[in-house]
């Protein structure tokens, strides 16, 4: 376990009892009350995770999920009859995002956080906003053209993610003898492939495409065509215990989907180069009939 994860676990263990013992627990809509009292909605964002969320050269917070959250905040203003609500931005990353939602610093965590059964025990999730399915990035020159060619090869994978579990299962199923190499973020995951330390990198293909496009070896990098992982249900994360707030957020997302704004936002970020990625089946289904189901594994 990385030191940060260890801190996180210890931190959460301390935060959880403090939260349940606080007077807020007695309120039925603690998040809404807090937002109304402060006159502010706080968005938690990832500063370096394009195209989902990043800080551009002008210092502005932008990205696919950030734009969805901005739309949600606009809808909240109407629903709560408070056009004066301000939006604040707090940077967060996978090691601190859950405690920051728990301790009330962040109202809406807008990135690519997987909705899982384990996480639902401590936080709440909105309707899913994207369904990335993991893919293997490889070098064309390595001769890996099929998932079977990964036999005995080394693969970089993000530690503690859904993809890590998928890799283990795939390895067991096809008896490939894959040597996993753990990375702590997408940049490192890709760097391992780019510098030749591993033969393949398993990750969200959208994030990987960002790095491939910027690599000096872009022409030599591609995805293994015959395999993709089970889609992960990524959603906006919120504090647990305010169902009215969650339903307002969900209503806003539904309205965004029905009005065509959601598709427009998708096209703006993901149909543009270097992604040129049409919506996958999971997201199309979600548009027609939104759910907040956790990732199935």
């Amino acid at each position: 376990m990385r030191p940060i994860s260890a801190l996180l676990v210890i931190g959460s263990a301390l935060v959880a009892p403090a939260l349940s013992a606080s007077p807020v627990a007695a309120q039925s809509t603690p998040t809404i009350d807090k937002i109304l009292e402060r006159g502010q909605v706080t968005i938690g964002h990832r500063p370096s995770s394009p195209p989902f969320g990043y800080v551009n050269d002008k210092g502005e917070v932008v990205g696919y999920t950030v734009e969805i959250c901005r739309y949600v905040v606009e809808q909240l203003k109407t629903a709560l009859n408070r056009p004066d609500l301000r939006t604040a931005y707090v940077p967060a990353d996978p090691s601190n995002r859950i405690p920051l939602v728990q301790n009330g610093t962040i109202d809406l965590e807008c990135a690519t956080t997987g909705n899982t059964v384990e996480r639902q025990k401590i936080v709440a999730f909105s309707y899913s906003t994207i369904f990335p399915d993991a893919r293997f990035a490889v070098r064309r020159s390595s001769g890996i053209a099929s998932v079977k060619d990964l036999k005995g090869r080394s693969v970089a994978v993000l530690q503690g993610t859904v993809q890590q579990r998928q890799l283990t299962e795939l390895d067991r199923e096809l008896k490939l003898g894959i040597k996993p190499v753990l990375a702590k973020d997408t940049a490192e995951n890709f760097l391992l492939l780019e510098t030749g330390r591993v033969d393949a990198a398993l990750n969200d293909p959208i994030l990987l495409s960002t790095y491939i496009a910027k690599s000096r070896d872009a022409a030599d990098l591609t995805f293994v065509p015959d395999w993709s992982g089970q889609p992960e249900n990524d959603a906006i994360m919120m504090a647990k215990g305010d169902d009215r707030f969650r339903s307002l957020v969900n209503a806003a997302i539904k309205k965004m989907m029905d009005s065509g704004e959601f598709t427009k936002n998708y096209e703006k970020w993901l149909m543009a180069p270097p992604y040129n990625l049409p919506m996958n089946e999971a997201l199309k289904k979600q548009m027609a009939n939104p759910t907040d189901d956790p990732t199935t594994l």
Partner: protein, 228 residues
């Protein structure tokens, strides 16, 4: 593909802001840490048992836990503690910036107080006795005899500790703050050019820390010369 230098050029304002943040964090927590450290040092060497025990406990606690842990816990738990203390209805949000400054100040105060204590105690007993023999009051004794010698001895170590503090500011990355390391690493991640930006961080930190330690060395030499 944009070259590393083009990315660097476009990001210069952000990097400059990051560097200003890191330097400010180091400078403010050094000054505040010394100011808080003085009373702690005096409490430790005071005759009052209870006072001395409290100061000892403070210093021992902070010198025995990792700074990373203190930064992380303080940021995550303070809103809840503050809520309890002032009886607010909601957790009191303490921004990452205030949180970082406060954590560094209380943490560094423990280190500075030990340097200050050692400096004061390094002044030979005979100096105190000589002062008393001249009928100096306690205040005058410290002002004219003890502190000038103590400060000369502890200044290089205080400054060395400040250089270490400057390097430690990079730990605020756990708060995802825009300090120099945070901004540079973030750009490296965004642009897929981690090695370039990690080298840049190393070069900048080396240049600043090396210049500072040369300055401390000069001061030490001067202090040593003045002592004779």
């Amino acid at each position: 593909m944009a070259s590393s230098w083009q990315v660097l050029l476009a990001a210069l304002p952000q990097l400059a802001e990051g560097l200003v943040f890191s330097v400010t964090l180091a400078a403010v927590s050094a000054i505040a840490g010394m100011l808080v450290g003085i009373p702690i040092a005096l409490a430790r060497i005071s005759g009052a048992r209870a006072l001395s025990a409290v100061a000892w406990a403070y210093v021992t606690l902070f010198r025995c836990v990792p700074l990373l842990l203190v930064i992380f816990w303080f940021y995550l738990l303070m809103p809840l503690l503050a809520q309890r203390v002032i009886g607010a209805r909601f957790p009191v949000p303490i921004g990452p910036v205030y949180s970082a400054f406060f954590t560094f100040m209380i943490f560094e105060a423990a280190y500075y107080s030990e340097i200050i204590r050692a400096g004061i105690q390094s002044v030979a007993r005979g100096q105190y006795e000589a002062g008393r023999a001249l009928c100096l009051s306690s205040v005058d004794l410290y002002r004219y005899v003890v502190l000038p010698q103590a400060i000369r001895r502890m200044l290089p170590i205080l400054l060395t500790q400040t250089v270490i503090l400057f390097q430690d500011t990079s730990l605020v990355y756990v708060l995802t703050l825009p300090d120099f390391v945070g901004v540079a690493a973030r750009l490296g991640q965004r642009e897929g050019q981690l090695p370039f930006f990690y080298i840049l961080i190393a070069v900048v930190f080396f240049a600043i820390s090396f210049a500072l330690s040369r300055a401390v060395r000069q001061l030490e030499l001067r202090g040593a010369a003045a002592a004779y």
